[in-house]
Symmetry: C2
Subunit: 311 residues, 2 copies
């Protein structure tokens, strides 16, 4: 009679963990019947995540600090505040995703991020209307054309515009202080693709920095300010919509926008006009800023990537 019997060891289906091959060990576990796109995404996530850990060689406390940072970032998210999008923004990931999805023919107006302050259904205005509803700030006139990449004017393009006031706040951040829909409006390009409207010079402003992302920015010696800009969404049937900004060139944060929204091609010229006749013609009662800006739309391109939900 045997004193002891040894049960058979379970057959090895997957490799055991080893530091050298760690990402492959993890990725080998994915099931055979999953979404091929999800497999592609997770394979890359695990590979680059393990590469980062291997380069950083975090101590246990550093790893725990990362866990705590992610947890705090999650806890900061509410219906009104998206701290993970902020994190994506300040690490340049939002701009990178935007760039990847908007590689346009040379000459077309470049895209930049939408940002959190867009409000749909802004008032429709005639050319020349002033979107500044409270008379505050330095007057500004914006004018130009909507063209296609061959230089042909596009009539009937919609230009949806929004921006901060002279203090760096959007209307939605100062409900009751600014009039509703202050510094927002939708214009339609006319014959020759032309458009023009009046407003006030925008100012830089900080992204929300009272959460974990703000704390991180401080720790890495960065400020939270966005370079002064005017937002546009320009659309026309048969053309790729463009979500973009134009930037004010003398803003002190021009080359250090906290979310990396500035592209060389999106920096406008702001001319200061103090000629009495020009002031009167523009319908202002004091010197103003004049901005000439043409938008160039590319013909509609077929969608390149599936937007099906992943999980």
């Amino acid at each position: 009679m045997n004193q002891a019997t040894k049960p058979v060891r379970q057959a090895q289906k997957y490799p055991y963990f080893e530091e050298e091959t760690s990402a492959d060990v993890v990725n080998a576990r994915m099931g055979p019947d999953i979404s091929p796109r999800l497999r592609e995404i997770m394979t890359a996530v695990v590979k680059h995540l393990h590469n980062a850990v291997k380069e950083i060689e975090p101590s246990h406390d550093e790893w725990l600090a990362a866990i705590k940072f992610l947890t705090d970032t999650g806890h900061m998210c509410t219906e009104w505040r998206q701290e993970f999008i902020l994190l994506s923004d300040v690490l340049g990931v939002s701009m990178l995703v935007d760039s990847i999805n908007h590689r346009r023919p040379s000459g077309a107006t470049e895209n930049t991020i939408l940002g959190p302050f867009y409000v749909p259904d802004a008032p429709r205005y005639e050319h020349g209307a002033n979107v500044c509803l409270d008379g505050k700030g330095e007057p500004m006139l914006v004018q130009g054309r909507v063209l296609d990449t061959s230089g042909k004017p596009i009539d009937g393009a919609l230009l949806d515009v929004w921006q901060t006031n002279e203090d760096g706040f959007y209307d939605v951040q100062q409900k009751g202080v600014q009039p509703d829909f202050n510094l927002r409006g939708v214009f339609t390009s006319g014959p020759g693709g032309s458009y023009w409207f009046r407003s006030v010079k925008p100012r830089f402003y900080p992204i929300p920095d009272d959460g974990p992302v703000g704390k991180m920015l401080e720790a890495i010696g960065r400020h939270p300010n966005r370079a002064a800009h005017i937002h546009f969404i320009v659309t026309a049937p048969g053309y790729d919509p463009v979500i973009t900004h134009i930037f004010e060139p003398s803003c002190r944060y021009l080359s250090e926008d906290a979310v990396f929204g500035v592209k060389e091609t999106l920096i406008a010229e702001f001319e200061h006009v103090d000629d009495a006749a020009a002031i009167e013609k523009a319908g202002f009662d004091k010197p103003f800023w004049r901005v000439n800006w043409d938008f160039t739309l590319a013909p509609k391109s077929p969608g390149t990537k599936s937007d099906a939900p992943i999980i």
Copy 2:
């Protein structure tokens, strides 16, 4: 009199965003006076994050799905549930960090992760005590020695032991069902480094899978189960503490532990003993499992990495 003057464009301090150089653009922004270790960490995080995004080329909706996943994971975290640690565990990151921080001389017992079920201040027992307080399960005897890497026995080492019951639950998961400190105990190695105690055979169990991490595992075709194991922390003055498991070799999840805790060197032999004399000698009243396991401790190594808080 000039009609218009153009203010000077702000001097460019930092490069503008471009897809090709995106990680460098982001990293160039860090201030000059920050912690060198934090600079090193953030530089690597941004570089590998951008590499991942460039390989994946996420659509806008895929990016948003990632934001939502991280947000949901954050919202799942409470005082009692750490979903980001679970995420780190199932992606093999916890094991990788553990491995990096516990590169031991060849022959020393390998580390594995602590897990969430350790409870300090378990009862101290004499050799041979049975840590199973409710008499449930298949009896198991664990015995062996604590040695150093030269083979010298270590007397007076502390062995802190914890494990699941036969249903795959820890006492802390079944308060009121299992007795407090069921299947937990602290033993001290005796002359010759020897130890022995009695318990019951552990069972596999699922990590908590009712949150976003569980949903992710399902989507990538993975189960949430940990291979059956016994936890140990073994400490002795002058030696590196070891946090480890020993694994039951016939467990169906042996090579597919959900958190990658299994290492080849940590798989024990479980002998089934049905000899009447051996049963009586072990103090059992039925056949039992016998596990022989020696621990090998490495001399204390100087700390290699700073554990100072990062942010």
